[in-house]
């Protein structure tokens, strides 16, 4: 856009690489770039079209993260190392949910931006999605697979809340281009910081098997009021009772009652049980990868 965020960051004295997807705004930013002494680098590109799934040459504003980091001069660091890059941005309201899912897949696979380490995201998201990301077990409608996966993956901090009324939108209807919601409040834009957990991959959860974890969580929370034991037994794991006892999860727990950390423990327990390896579950995961990768 016009560079409000960029200027704020520059004023704070940090080095900034700005991605601009609309060529109309480029000249202005480029003149800003020239007026500063290397503190700002402007690149034509769209952060939310990084590493597109389609094969073939990548045409701007889509771009590949490898090239981007190369031109930024950022080298990959181990996962447990400190945050290599901080990203600031506003999540577009159009298909916001899908963008959150894509970031999540990248996180669990350590691909795209997460290839170079625990990239910290500082993004504006709508309040309803913020509510989803930070909801607690049992909170009807808000507690979803997305919640569990983000909370397992990242530390989520709310940095700032800004009411929608502070923004001017250019919609035809003159109203705000904000989705109306039925169940969750959506009156603000929330700046959240998503810092990947250092210990995300220290257990038996690995980038290679994380798709199974994602798949498992999605299956469980497709119907949040279903019983966890029913889910487990429908996967041919009928000693699920024992498993739950070991994990100290009540037998009659509904899937929406489990904490994100419980899901992680459940997954790790399953990974270690010999039985799980032979079920059809893994085949199923493979088949659904394509569908899941939005």
């Amino acid at each position: 856009g016009p560079g409000v965020l960029t200027r704020t960051l520059l004023n704070a004295g940090v080095r900034v690489v700005a991605l601009e997807s609309n060529s109309a705004f480029l000249p202005n930013l480029q003149s800003l770039e020239n007026s500063l002494d290397g503190q700002l680098k402007v690149i034509y590109g769209d952060f939310f079209r990084l590493d597109p799934l389609v094969t073939g040459t990548v045409k701007p504003p889509a771009l590949s993260s490898d090239k981007l980091f190369e031109s930024m001069g950022v080298a990959a660091v181990p996962w447990r190392a400190d945050v290599p890059v901080k990203v600031f941005g506003i999540l577009p309201q159009v298909r916001e949910r899908n963008k959150l899912w894509r970031l999540l897949f990248a996180l669990y696979e350590c691909s795209s931006i997460y290839r170079c380490g625990r990239v910290e995201l500082n993004i504006f998201i709508s309040e309803k999605e913020y509510k989803v990301l930070t909801s607690k077990p049992g909170e009807a409608k808000a507690y979803q697979a997305l919640t569990v996966l983000w909370q397992v993956g990242c530390e989520i901090q709310l940095l700032h809340k800004e009411p929608w009324s502070s923004f001017v939108t250019n919609m035809k209807s003159r109203g705000l281009a904000v989705q109306k919601t039925k169940w969750l409040p959506n009156d603000h834009l929330c700046l959240v910081r998503l810092t990947p957990h250092q210990n995300l991959f220290t257990g038996s959860l690995k980038p290679t098997n994380s798709a199974t974890f994602i798949f498992m969580v999605k299956q469980c929370l497709a119907k949040p009021r279903s019983k966890l034991t029913d889910r487990l037994s429908s996967w041919s794991l009928d000693n699920g009772g024992k498993l739950l006892r070991e994990l100290e999860i009540p037998q009659n727990a509904e899937t929406r009652d489990l904490y994100p950390e419980d899901y992680r423990r459940l997954f790790e327990a399953l990974q270690n049980s010999s039985e799980f390896a032979e079920t059809w579950f893994n085949d199923e995961v493979m088949e659904s990868i394509r569908n899941i990768n939005l």
Binding site: T57, R97, N98, T208, N209, A211, T212, K218, Q219, A222, K223, S233, S234, W235, S236, D238, A277, W280, N282, D283, E284, V285, M286, E287, S288, I289, R290, N291, I292, L294
Partner: protein, 1228 residues
């Protein structure tokens, strides 16, 4: 005082039945006039009475008092001028009625009158009671006590009290009326009816505002009541009815037919008393008796051999309600012995009563069919090569098959030798299946028990009656069928649930047809019908439909041959299916170690439920456990089970005589196919005058009456290749085992590399595709093999545009090359002088060669390669195999064999051929457009004009595009230069073809991109730009060549857009009289809550908003399709008149080699005749009347715009339509 009044009001309807004069007579009968009996009855009925009583009180309470006071004025008028009343009623009371909205539409409007009516009747009853001095003291006191015992009853009594004053007035009014004769009373009643109708007529929009939910509920109630009727459980039916009747909120869901259904169940038992009670309940809520109510009463009277007086009163009442006795037999749909009983009742009073004569047959007056239907030119209907006796046997075979509902046949794979592994797997499977059968039976029992318990304590389980309709074994059988046919990839819950639900429904319908004796009647008529077709009976100058109707009329069956409409709402079907699916998933278990004995034995579920995610959607799937899939694949079982309607018919189909009746003997078939849940088509068909549908019905009968047989030599060759690994080039899908499987690296699958996962994923995808293709071919070939020695028929129905389709889904003449190659006409005809030449030309057409050459040149080419043809025929698999290189190899092979046989026969002209020869319309859609617009250049390019060689529209467009490209290239347009040498017929063909069917630039570009991608030399980086450029040029090219066509297309689109924007759906009528409505609505989905998963079900109803985009984009192609189907039907009918065998695959017409020339002539004549009609003007006029008639609110802006648009019919060119007659390549 008030208590007394209440008692009177309550006891009136409860004890005295109906309230009107005749019903009290009925009561008289039932209570057998002795005091004791009355008393006993009263005691038994106490509980039931109480229910009525409660309902009554609640109802009275719910009616607002102001309403009644408004009525006061009217009621005082009762004695005076009655005819003025309705006007006042309609004018005055509305403001007070508005708050009473929950009462629903029509009812709330007619409220005052029904109130008046009710009070009046109650008073009347009371008087009668006094007159007859019937002592009801016992029961009344009992009732009083009951009422008093209820703590709430006091309030109710109070509510009642406040009604006192209006009532008093009523009494005076009534007593005045009483002073008059009996006719005053009936007058009063008639007045009410008139008033009601007036209200209805005045406000149709409000009457239509019925929420879809409510409609579904109403339908569910009706079908549940019919279940009870079927189960012969009148008590249950009544209990169910009362559960609605007793709640004011739910009561409005009950229609007259709901009460009628319950009355019918009692009538079957001869319980007059119950019926009177129901009639009175109906009256108490202001519902008018319908003809069917009288049918139920009379049936009951007939069954119990009632007194003359009772019947007489009933008939009198019937007349008073504006019906006629004859109506009963002309309009009511009777089942079982209902009709005989009604007749018996009537003959008690009128011993000489004769059934009304059937309505005289009407003749269609369409100008296109004047010749066809003219009586002078009638010819006798062509005979089949069967005797009466043989056809009767065929019918018996078909009937037995349909009675079983399913057919199990040997698959063509059964000839393969059995391996020991397969034997083992089969025995394991059969043990498992018998175990599952038991488990399912148990699960079903258990669920039914728990439902029954629920039913006894609280409300009703909606599903319970539906699980009682069939023997438990049958439900289990249906569920097992689903398990056996589940593919290893699984299936979505919704699909399975629908399948389960509809299987139960179909069996129920079969049972009902048996029970209602409908089958008996059909059999009787069919036996007569055979005489029209059999070779050893008199020739008759009737069409199948006419003959059938005549027989029905002669047998005096009337409309009784149809079953009452009893379709189940879609939601209910799904709910039932989901319940059965849940039972399946719960009950079926398999030992985990069945394939690998080293594992510990444990039972695991056979079916599992899993979600699959598509962006924001989640779809529930049911998948079989891999262990089970493995077993099934190891066992390689060779028995296939189909619905009986999937097999071609073994006797000539039952002719279509109405939108509900035709095709199979028992299986329910719709005249018009539609998406599940769409009701508009059926409504439209029912509403239009039936005579208007005759041409369409006759055409469908004609197509369905074509007898077929199997080309055995070709079938055997195909089966041999199928069983030997298939052949993808020849379109015989190989078995899944032939798909190369990637080698699996060590380690658990979760640790594989991404590339490897990708590879495995691709393999799985391919395997799934191959599996489904293989199964499809297996079904087709197995069915063909099953009927290989028989003659069979394909009953036809149509889609909503009138395009016709054979009903059996897998194996039919619409199929691919393989299926078409194994079909022959059962009837043989000599080749005649030109027949062999036609066979040869047909063969060359099938090769795809010589498309640009004249017929003569094609014939010469065939003669040139005669040696290849004979070699192919003699040694299809071992010779030079010329046939394999053709476009349609299997049909070519079959044709080669036919030519070989014919040319080797001593006299080819006398050779009897069963071979169908095809004539194809060349770009039929554009032909219709060109004819509509009289486009000169267009007509020439699609062969409407006589030419020495066939014209190719695709090449012509390609040429035009190439010209544009050259010009652009010269002017330096980069992409035009890049495309040099790439513009060809092949690149543009698909887009040109689909332009007629409304392809958009977007879709067109995708098509172009695909074609260009196939060209290896084309630089990939230009794909997008080039395809974008090309599609633009193709559209321009077509615009240039078919100028009027584009105008017409545009006009149709714009008209549809305006119509849809005004909130209406696009409707039209084809020149043959078929009414068409486009079924595209903005769908709303309802969520079905089931234990396993919530299902979102799309729901449709008649008041939905149209989907503007679809309505608009689909109108031009749908309209053109409705024209091509009309052309086909006309050709079919006139071919029938000439004694030709004729079938069609949309725009491809088939007949014997002998008759190709005649068919070609008829085809051209009918095309000219069709387009000589003022098609567009007629359409414009129809739409103007429908959408812009002055009766509607004319001020609206949209209507002006629409009127302008519709009146502005596009201008046409100056092509002379008659030229088509001499065009050789129009259809060739």
């Amino acid at each position: 005082m008030s208590l007394l009044r209440l008692r009177a009001a309550l006891s009136g309807p409860a004890r005295l039945g109906g309230g009107g004069v005749p019903w009290s007579v009925l009561r008289n009968y039932s209570s057998a006039s002795t005091k004791e009996k009355a008393r006993r009855n009263a005691v038994c009925e106490r509980a039931e009475l109480l229910e009525v009583l409660k309902a009554r009180v609640k109802q009275l309470q719910a009616s607002s008092i102001p309403e009644v006071t408004v009525n006061k004025s009217e009621l005082t008028l009762l004695g005076n001028d009655k005819l003025q009343d309705p006007l006042q009623e309609e004018g005055a009371p509305s403001p007070l009625e508005e708050p009473a909205a929950p009462w629903g539409r029509g009812q709330s409007l007619s409220r005052p009158s029904s109130w008046a009516e009710k009070l009046k009747k109650e008073m009347h009853v009371r008087q009668l009671k006094v007159e007859r001095k019937l002592s009801l003291a016992a029961s009344q006191t009992a009732l009083e006590e009951e009422v008093k015992a209820k703590p709430k009853s006091k309030e109710k009594v109070k509510a009642k009290k406040s009604l006192k004053s209006p009532k008093a007035k009523v009494i005076t009014a009534w007593s005045q009326a009483q002073g008059g004769s009996h006719s005053t009373c009936t007058h009063g009643k008639l007045r009410v009816t008139v008033g009601k109708e007036g209200v209805k007529a005045q406000r149709p929009p409000r009457a239509q505002k019925d929420s879809s939910h409510q409609k579904v509920l109403q339908q569910s109630i009706q079908s549940t009541l019919e279940c009870f009727l079927f189960l012969q459980q009148p008590e249950e039916a009544e209990r169910f009815l009362l559960s609605y009747h007793s709640s004011p909120a739910k009561r409005r869901l009950l229609s007259v037919s709901a009460y009628n259904t319950v009355m019918h169940s009692w009538a079957r038992k001869g319980c007059l008393q119950r019926i009177s009670r129901l009639l009175c309940m109906m009256e108490s809520v202001g519902l008018q008796r319908s003809l069917d109510s009288y049918a139920a009463v009379l049936e009951c009277l007939g069954r119990s051999q009632s007194s003359t007086q009772a019947v007489w009163r009933c008939l009198q009442q019937l007349k008073n309600d504006g019906f006629h006795v004859d109506d009963l037999f002309q309009k009511c749909l009777f089942e079982e012995d209902e009709k005989e009983m009604v007749l018996r009742a009537i003959r008690i009073v009128q011993p000489n009563y004769q059934l009304p004569p059937p309505p005289s047959p009407q003749t269609c007056k369409s100008s296109l069919l004047q010749d066809f239907y003219s009586k002078e030119r009638m010819v006798s209907y062509p005979k089949l090569d069967f005797s009466v006796q043989e056809l009767q046997e065929c019918f018996q075979q078909q009937l037995e098959m349909e009675l079983d509902n399913t057919v199990t046949i040997e698959s063509v794979e059964s000839t393969k030798p059995l391996t020991p592994q397969a034997m083992r797997a089969r025995s394991v499977l059969s043990t498992l299946r018998s175990r599952w059968h038991g488990a399912l039976l148990q699960a079903l029992h258990k669920s039914k028990r728990s439902m029954a318990k629920l039913r006894n304590t609280s409300g009703y389980s909606t599903l319970y009656p539906y699980l009682c309709l069939l023997p438990d074994e049958e439900y289990v059988g249906i569920m097992m069928q689903i398990v056996n046919s589940l593919s290893p990839q699984g299936e979505s819950l919704a699909v399975l649930a629908r399948e389960l639900g509809s299987k139960v429904y179909n069996r129920y319908i079969t049972q009902r047809k048996l029970r209602s004796r409908q089958l008996e009647k059909v059999r009787a008529v069919y036996e007569g019908y055979i005489h029209l077709l059999a070779k050893d009976s008199q020739p008759e100058e009737y069409l199948p439909r006419e003959y059938w109707e005549k027989l029905v009329a002669e047998a005096g069956f009337g409309p009784a041959l149809n079953l009452k409409d009893c379709s189940w709402p879609y939601m209910l079907l799904m709910r039932l299916g989901m319940h059965m699916l849940e039972l399946l998933v719960e009950a079926l278990r398999v030992p985990r170690n069945i394939l690998n004995p080293r594992l510990e034995p444990r039972l695991i579920p056979v079916l599992y439920h899993i979600y699959s995610f598509h962006s924001s959607w989640q779809v529930g799937l049911i998948k079989p456990h891999p262990i089970f899939s493995q077993l099934v694949s190891d066992a390689g079982e060779t028995l296939l089970t189909f619905n009986s309607s999937a097999i071609p018919m073994l006797c000539p189909p039952v002719p279509w005589t109405s939108p509900h009746f035709g095709a199979y003997i028992l299986s329910d078939t719709k005249l018009m196919r539609f998406v599940e849940g769409v009701v508009q088509h059926q409504q439209l068909l029912e509403q239009c005058p039936q005579v208007q549908l005759h041409p369409v019905l006759d055409a469908l009968n004609q197509l369905g009456n074509c007898a077929w047989k199997i080309n055995r030599p070709v079938l055997d060759i195909i089966i041999s290749i199928f069983n030997d690994k298939g052949n993808e080039k020849l379109d015989i899908p190989p078995p899944v085992s032939e798909v190369p499987r990637p080698s699996a690296p060590p380690g658990s699958s979760s640790s594989w590399s991404k590339a490897h996962k990708q590879e495995l994923l691709l393999y799985k995808k391919k395997a799934a595709e191959v599996h489904s293709m293989r199964m499809d071919a297996l079904y087709k070939l197995s069915i063909a093999n099953h009927v290989r020695d028989k003659v069979f028929w394909f009953p036809h129905n149509m889609d909503f545009r009138g395009r016709t389709y054979p009903c059996p889904p897998y194996f039919n003449h619409l199929g691919n090359d393989v299926t078409r190659a194994i079909l022959l006409f059962a009837e043989g005809r000599p080749l005649g002088p030109k027949g062999l030449d036609w066979l040869k030309i047909h063969l060359v057409n099938l090769t795809g060669l010589k498309k640009k050459n004249s017929l003569q040149e094609r014939l010469e080419y065939a003669n040139e390669i005669m040696e290849e043809i004979l070699d192919s025929a003699d040694r299809p698999l071992t010779g030079r195999r010329w046939w394999m290189k053709t476009d349609e190899p299997w049909q070519a092979l079959a044709c080669c064999m036919e030519i070989a046989k014919a040319s080797r026969s001593p006299d080819p002209a006398a050779y009897i051929s069963h071979f169908p020869v095809h004539q194809d319309g060349s770009c039929n859609g554009l032909q219709h457009y060109a004819a509509l617009g009289r486009d000169l250049i267009g007509a020439m390019s699609v062969n409407l004009m006589p030419c020495s060689v066939p014209q190719d529209v695709y090449s012509a467009v390609a040429q035009q595009v190439e010209e544009f490209r050259k010009k652009d290239a010269e002017q330096g347009v980069k992409i035009a230069q890049v495309l040099q040498g790439f513009v060809s017929r092949k690149v543009v063909k698909q887009t040109v073809m689909t332009v007629v069917y409304g392809v958009t630039r977007y879709g067109g570009r995708l098509q172009m991109e695909k074609r260009l991608k196939e060209i290896d030399e084309f630089p990939e980086e230009y794909l997008w730009e080039a395809s974008h450029y090309l599609v633009k040029q193709v559209f321009n090219g077509i615009k240039e060549m078919f100028s009027a066509t584009r105008d017409i297309q545009h006009w149709l689109t714009e008209s549809a857009k305006l119509i849809a924007q005004s909130g209406q759906t696009v409707e039209w009528v084809t020149p043959l009289g078929l009414p068409i409505v486009q079924p595209y609505y903005r769908s709303r989905s309802t969520v079905l809550n089931c234990n396993m998963q919530h299902l979102s079900v799309k729901s449709f109803n008649s008041n939905q908003k149209p989907d503007t985009v679809k309505q608009k984009n689909a109108f031009p192609p749908n309209f053109i399709h409705s024209l091509d189907s009309t052309h086909m039907m006309l050709t079919a009918l006139y071919c029938l008149r000439q004694g030709l065998t004729f079938v069609s695959v949309h725009d491809c017409y088939w007949t014997h080699a002998l008759t190709v020339d005649i068919m070609n002539q008829i085809c051209r004549q009918q095309f000219v005749a069709l387009h000589s009609e003022k098609i567009l003007q007629d359409l414009s006029q129809f739409m103007l009347e429908k959408y812009c008639s002055p009766g509607r609110e004319t001020r609206a802006q949209w209507q002006k715009k629409l009127m302008e648009q519709l009146s502005n019919v596009p201008k046409t060119g100056d092509f002379n339509l008659k030229e088509v007659m001499d065009s050789t390549y129009f259809f060739s």
